[in-house]
Amino acid sequence: MTRLSPDFVEEMKRYSHDTALACFNCGTCTAICPLIDEHFPRRMIRYVQIGAKDRILENAPELWKCLHCGLCTQTCPREANPGEIILGLKRMVVAHWRKS
């Protein structure tokens, strides 16, 4: 069972720009990403939208595969800035690890 945190989008404002809700999950970011990894970064952005913080923490190491190359941000049709959302998630996870 996945626990959802409705306030997670608010929490993420501390770590990155508030753009996750602009994403309509088209998958352009995943198609263009040089990692060619099944659902990265789209799935992580979906988790932010629905507040699935636990899922993000469970899969946290995956975030560091991101090369921060910016191609996803360059091509996002919604200007949702996926690259910065991933960077914000890294910051959130680092803060979480240090607290725990």
Binding site: K65, K90, W97
Partner: protein
């Protein structure tokens, strides 16, 4: 793949205690300038940010990381943060071959030659030339990055620095975009190729110029190095993935997953090799990662400096 937490905490601890992400003492890592005859004056300060100097050490350490990636031994990396920074740094400096260090020092010496030939009024102060902290920013240690960036910005401000000449895209991005946002310090920042005023050359030839993500996409500067090459009779072969749509070299993954860095780098190298032209890079991370794949890659500064001879 290594656990990101182990890598981040080791780098953060080194940077906090030694101001160097690998713990290498400053006088050992920054030696390229000793015979350059540079003065401390001038209108602008040359600021390398130590990225080119770091590459030989990165190559040594990632060779070990590649060896133990996904082996049971990689769990021991979690203890790296407890090893005193200078202790591990001295060890790394000792096992890194001198010829590799000299290779990267020559790139900086070529940049000096190019700036002098262009009549740029600049100086160098090795004690001020420190690492920008950009790796911690990319890894998501925002607290560590901001703390280090404020320390560096403060040193530069107190020294009266206003104008900086940079040599790599990561330091350029940090000083131009991140320092104003996170430290409030605003410097006039120019990558060295923006200041070159060289004409001529010795006959036309073509190269495959690899745009790094930070120049091509984040800073939108791809046209400038291409123009500097064209002014010296060197054309850039057309590439499908260049400028704002350039393809990553894979290098940024090398600490967390050396195998991923190879996989992504191989894809980029195929695109560059398809042009049939000699490959040129202008970022130390790209240069290091593409060379690691066996490619014969020259730095932009070396290609430009060859035309001066």
């Amino acid at each position: 793949m290594y656990h990101p937490r182990d890598i981040i905490e080791a780098i953060a601890a080194n940077l906090r205690t030694t101001r160097n992400p690998f713990g290498i003492p400053h006088f050992m890592v920054n030696r390229w300038w000793r015979k350059s005859g540079l003065t401390t004056g001038g209108d602008a300060l040359l600021f390398t940010g130590l990225m080119y100097q770091f590459i030989p050490y990165i190559e040594t350490s990632t060779a070990y990381l590649a060896k133990y990636e996904d082996s049971p031994l990689n769990a021991y990396l979690r203890y790296a943060r407890y090893v005193p920074g200078y202790f591990s740094g001295l060890g790394l400096a000792t096992i890194t071959p001198g010829r590799e260090k000299r290779k990267f020092d020559r790139i900086l010496q070529d940049i000096v030659k190019l700036l002098k030939a262009s009549g740029v009024d600049f100086g160098y102060r090795p004690e001020l030339d420190r690492y920008s902290g950009i790796l911690l920013y990319d890894l998501g240690d925002q607290e560590g990055f901001v703390r280090h960036a404020r320390w560096l910005a403060d040193r530069l401000r107190k020294a009266g620095v206003k104008k900086l000449i940079t040599v790599d895209p990561h330091t350029t991005y940090a000083l131009k975009e991140l320092f104003p946002e996170y430290t409030g310090a605003r410097f006039e920042v120019h990558p060295y190729f923006e200041l070159l005023r060289l004409k001529g050359g010795n006959g036309r030839r073509t190269v495959a110029l690899h745009d790094p993500c930070f120049y091509g996409r984040y800073l939108g500067l791809s046209d400038v190095p291409a123009r500097a090459l064209a002014d010296l009779g060197i054309d850039c072969a057309p590439l499908d993935r260049s400028g704002a749509y350039t393809h990553c070299c894979g290098g940024p993954a090398e600490s967390i997953s050396p195998s991923l860095a190879v996989e992504v780098g191989r894809r980029r190298l195929d695109q560059l090799e398809a042009t049939g032209a000699p490959i040129v890079a202008m970022c130390p991370i790209c240069l290091g990662n593409l060379r690691k794949l066996g490619a014969d890659v020259q730095d932009l500064s070396s290609v430009l400096a060859e035309t001066l001879q």
